[in-house]
């Protein structure tokens, strides 16, 4: 099998990551057995392809389900370059962090209204006390940490080892929440094999527009949730307005989002998302538009969902018969 590694600015810090599983092999360039070292580091635009035994071994055990993978290698490459910036207060993810003011209440109040959070807990300091929540594509843990502070037992999964490292490091700094969060390098289709119908809620915030095989992604997400549990999505609609605002203005004009973050063709209209969820026996509880004001740097709810939107679905108890 082949294996890719990325050359970062600091040469000694180069980490070797499998092209397929996106796991860190634990090797650095200097510690890699000589046979696997590239002859010249600077060739081939910083990306070297080498053969590695570890990767070969891994590939035979864990990565036979490649055909159904929802992880897009190009997207991974994009986010790998940004992984150190998750918690930078004025950095590339500031817009995403600001979105917490909408998506945390969305999850908190959503779980309150569906009755899955105990009424007693919702009145106190830990409204999500004891609820098991999976954050898919957790990145640096921007969403995991607030949810854990509200009492949830959070599992954050992300295909990128770099992101998981950042997330782990950051949450370790607050002893009150570090015990409540588990970060894993994983994907939904991998999780669904281990823990089907385990979570009270699955959150996929600003993730759906980055995955391959949206159908597989959504059906895995639904399978991960208990009956009566909730799914929360926030993503971008595919309209001409979203092209103008989310790509032209946000990425190229105002540069509040790193260039190339989004690909318009991968955006998902809420109708598609709704259909797929309903076909998986889910009830759409809520669909709201979201709007970002770059001057006040704040998000707010709007009725129009033609650019950013949030969706809350509940997995129904009874099997839907048609």
């Amino acid at each position: 099998m082949q294996m890719k590694f990325l050359k970062k600015s600091n040469q000694s810090m180069q980490t070797i990551i499998c092209q397929h599983c996106q796991r860190n092999t634990g090797h650095q360039l200097s510690t890699l057995p000589k046979v696997y070292r590239p002859s010249s580091v600077n060739t081939a635009k910083n990306i070297q392809t080498i053969i590695c035994q570890q990767a070969t071994k891994l590939s035979t055990t864990n990565y036979t389900r490649q055909m159904s993978s929802t992880i897009n290698p190009e997207e991974l490459q994009k986010f790998r370059l940004l992984s150190q910036k998750w918690w930078d207060s004025r950095g590339d993810f500031a817009v995403l962090r600001a979105m917490n003011s909408l998506r945390i209440p969305l999850v908190r109040d959503g779980l309150k209204h569906t009755g899955i959070a105990s009424l007693k807990a919702t009145l106190g300091p830990k409204p999500l006390d004891g609820l098991k929540i999976l954050d898919v594509g957790c990145g640096g843990g921007l969403l995991c940490e607030p949810l854990a502070r509200l009492g949830a037992i959070v599992t954050g999964i992300d295909p990128l080892q770099e992101n998981i490292e950042v997330a782990k490091q950051h949450s370790a700094q607050d002893p009150q929440i570090s015990g409540q969060i588990t970060y894993l390098v994983s994907s939904v289709e991998e999780q669904v094999q281990n823990q089907p119908s385990y979570y009270d809620a699955v959150v996929a915030s600003e993730v759906v527009e980055h995955v391959d095989n949206v159908e597989v992604f959504i059906s895995s997400a639904v399978d991960l949730v208990k009956k009566g549990g909730s799914l929360f999505f926030t993503t971008v609609n595919r309209t001409w307005l979203s092209y103008v605002l989310a790509i032209c203005i946000a990425e190229w004009g105002l540069r509040i989002v790193p260039r190339g973050t989004h690909e318009w063709s991968k955006f998902i209209p809420p109708v598609n998302l709704k259909e797929q969820l309903e076909s998986k026996n889910c009830h759409i509880q809520l669909l709201h538009g979201m709007c970002y004001n770059p001057v006040t740097r704040k998000w707010s709810w709007i009725t129009d969902s033609s650019v950013n939107y949030a969706l809350h679905a509940v997995k129904l108890n009874e099997t839907h018969t048609t």
């Binding site: 918690w87 207060s89 917490n100 003011s101 945390i104 209440p105 908190r108 009145l123 106190g124 300091p125 830990k126 409204p127 940490e145 607030p146 949810l147 854990a148 502070r149 509200l150 950051h170 700094q173 607050d174």
Partner: protein, 503 residues
């Protein structure tokens, strides 16, 4: 515009002899229960010192302080004055912050309510309805009502150089415009509520802070370190500086602090009126040396705040009490400064307005006559203005006089401080309910914006009024008299003023 009061003092440490030290110990004990070795030390030391009088409490206190060193607090409120204790109280009573560990640091001894005497204290505040609502939110207002306060139904402001008058009241005098309450009564009411939540809010007395180490800009995950005089160190996720106008927290934040001293001093005293009246009006007269305010305390007593030039104030303080009362009465009633030109113009304007809107404008009431002052109740303090360019920094927020200090002429000082408490508590609770770390900068910045939008205009207006009324110059007198009279006639403007001043 509003009657004067002692905003300046609101953050100063209150020096009371400690009577209820034992109670203070009880407040701290529950905190230690979680930690066995410390409890052991505590009881050990208590038995050890039972026989030795005097030093016992101190020793126990030190042991408790030792146990604090290893602890990280969620919120530390520095300063246990009116604003600081109200801050600790609001946070402590919030259900969202139920699991937060809150510490209040106070340099003075534990608060103990002195038995109430007939004699009123000379340190009184005019509290606005907004402050009442804040104190009511944690039931401290009930405690205050059960002790004593005087509701004000009407405020009348007039000046020495003309008959121009303005008065503030709610229609039919149904609602109170303000409440005159003594400092100790407010603090007692708040402290009583604070003692009820001793499991959530710990009060550390005799805590002199020598140094605050603040996290650097951008250092999100560093916490504030507090070094106490006795060598102990505390850590906190959020430091709230309520440590008064000479705030060490503010100095550590290294923010720009705009400040100047007025060449004015305020004299306070408790006054006896010549005859008992309903006495529910707060009076303020602007004379060129500074405003005089009479705040009702009871049917026959009022509190005085007399702002005068430093020179005059010193003379007034040196006078025998009888002469002082004479000087005061003549300052309130003196008509010699009246300018005939202004009077005539004002009369014309008045008759013109009367034909346009008959019945508008307020009826002028006559102020009370002063019989005497309470022996020894006269006190004097210098006045100044101060404003911090920033109220917040990463994991730090300033409230009350630590952030802003104003002239007492409108009685806004302590109310602005309570307004800070209200705003900061609301934003912190919302932020924590959204799962944020308590020290997150965004809600703090929001607090700063919200408060500065209210406080800066208030300060400018009050400073401007003080300057406007410190002259006898004819054109100025004429303009301000006409302006005041017009403001008094136009109800919408007046209502805006009332709502700004009482929010």
């Amino acid at each position: 515009m509003f009657p004067g009061c002692l905003s300046i003092f609101c953050q100063d440490a209150i020096k009371f002899t400690s009577i209820r030290k034992v109670r203070q110990l009880c407040r701290i004990i529950p905190y230690n229960r979680s930690c066995c070795p410390v409890t052991y030390v505590f009881f050990n030391s208590e038995t050890r010192h039972l026989s030795s009088t005097g030093s016992r409490h101190q020793q126990v206190g030190e042991d408790i302080e030792q146990s604090l060193t290893a602890e990280v607090w969620d919120i530390v409120v520095s300063g246990g004055g009116l604003v600081g204790s109200a801050m600790a109280c609001v946070l402590g009573y919030s259900s969202v912050l139920l699991d937060k560990k809150i510490l209040m640091l106070e340099t003075g001894p534990p608060f103990s309510q002195k038995p109430l005497t007939e004699k009123y204290s000379n340190r009184v505040f005019a509290l606005t309805p907004a402050t009442r609502d804040l104190l009511n939110s944690f039931k401290a207002w009930d405690n205050i009502c059960s002790v004593r306060l005087k509701p004000v139904k009407r405020m009348q402001v007039w000046e020495a150089c003309s008959d121009a008058t303005i008065s503030f009241q709610h229609t039919g005098m149904l609602h109170d415009v303000a409440y005159i309450v003594e400092n100790e009564v407010i603090l007692g009411g708040v402290m009583e509520q604070l003692a009820k939540i001793s499991d959530r809010v710990t009060v550390l007395n005799h805590a002199k802070v020598t140094e605050y180490v603040l996290p650097k800009q951008g250092g999100i995950n560093e916490w504030v370190e507090i070094k106490l005089e006795n060598g102990r160190k505390l850590k906190t996720k959020l430091l709230i500086g309520a440590d008064g106008m000479r705030s060490l927290v503010r100095k550590t934040m290294n923010v720009n602090y705009t400040a100047w001293n007025y060449d004015q001093k305020a004299i306070v005293a408790t006054l006896k009126l010549s005859e008992p009246t309903e006495n529910n009006v707060a009076w303020q007269r602007f004379i060129s040396t500074g405003p005089i305010a009479l705040l009702p305390l009871s049917d026959d007593q009022s509190s005085l705040v007399w702002t005068a030039t430093s020179e005059l104030a010193d003379q007034l303080m040196a006078m025998p009490e009888d002469n002082f009362v004479d000087a005061l009465n003549s300052a309130i009633w003196d008509e010699s400064k009246k300018n005939p030109i202004v009077e005539k113009t004002l009369g014309t304007l008045n008759s013109f307005l009367n034909t346009l809107w008959p019945g508008e404008g307020s009826v002028r009431q006559l102020p009370p006559n002063i019989l005497s002052i309470d022996e020894g109740s006269r006190a004097c303090f210098p006045l100044g203005l101060g404003h911090a360019a920033h109220y917040v920094a990463p994991r730090v927020a300033l409230v009350g006089d630590a952030a802003h200090r104003i002239h007492p002429l409108a009685g806004q000082g302590v109310n602005l401080g309570f307004g800070d408490v209200q705003a900061l508590a609301k934003l912190l609770v919302n932020s924590v309910y959204d799962g944020n770390d308590i020290g997150t900068l965004e809600p703090l910045l929001e607090y700063e914006t919200e408060r500065q939008r209210h406080i800066v205009p208030t300060m400018c207006v009050i400073d401007g009024l003080n300057r406007l009324y410190s002259t006898d110059l004819l054109p100025v007198v004429l303009l301000r008299s006409l302006g005041l009279h017009l403001t008094d006639t136009f109800r919408p403007i007046k209502e805006r003023i009332i709502s700004h001043a009482s929010s």
